[in-house]
Amino acid sequence: MPVSERSSAVIFTSLKDAGVRIMSALPETWLVHLIRMAEEDPDVNLVRLAKEEEGVGISMGAHLAGVRSAMLMQNHGFLASVNGIVSGAQLYRIPLLMLVSARGEFGERDPWQTEGGGVTVPVLDALRIPTRRVDDVTSVPRAIAESMTLAYSASRPVALLLGRSLMWEEA
């Protein structure tokens, strides 16, 4: 499976460097290495979810208790989390770092991913969530550090879109 282990490792290390100690996740193909790394690291508490919106609640509680967290999910998981993001994290001004795999864009072979690919960015925009796209592994450490900084200074959810060229090693 051509999911990039190298990019996954850089993302994982950058999240740890940003102080993330709890990662909540729902498995998705592009995230398999990242989730495995979180599982194997004794310094990281991985919470495997039944549905992504739970992760918003878990991150809210962790933040209030003083622990940094991140959500790892597919864009369809982001779409499934919208009410929690709006009426939880935004209403209560919670810094929430969301790493969202951008499925359904150019190069996508799975027909079922394509509708979500077309609406993810417009929905993020409609929710006024600052969003940065990452397509190149060299920009990952800075993108994650700056996302966490903005999430905390703005006290708001922030999204990093993980692009195909970052996560998938074939065209």
Partner: protein, 190 residues
Amino acid sequence: MERRACLEAIYGDLQDVAVVTIMGAVAAELQAIGHRPNFFYLQHAMGLASSLGLGVALAQPSRPVVVLDGDGSLLMNLGGLTTLARYRPRNLVHVVFDNESLLSVGGFPTATSTGSDLAAIAKAAGVPRTVTVHSIPDFVTAFREARAAGDLTTIVAKVDAIGPKAFVTDLALLENRYQFARYLQDRPPL
């Protein structure tokens, strides 16, 4: 059994624990009895009170956490019960006030009114301790036993579908949020 009487009966036990409630009657009644800085009222994001409680419990494993949930809210996040059971925070007591109704929006009956059993669902999800109670003494006993047991417990308290006339209180959402965060971060668990 009235929910407010349940809350009054355990109010003294809610001194040195992080309390997370759902919106609506539970939040309004607990505030009417007396707000404390260790109480957080999740005034929307229905379903996520138990997930938020799990987040607090994982972040501070030695802090006792009590989630005051409801049937309507829990039915929106039944999958969260499996996550709760999977990570089994031993410092968390999950109370579900089941009035078989979405009371705050006009009293629409929930699925517990037609037989869905939330304690059985929690047990089947893997929550190690579950109980359903119908009286104040049984509720207080179940609550104290759960605290003493030191293990994840879901207590379903069957209560009447009655509540306060109004749900908006004079405690601003963000004031509550920052006060609660300060309590958790500045006051180490006993």
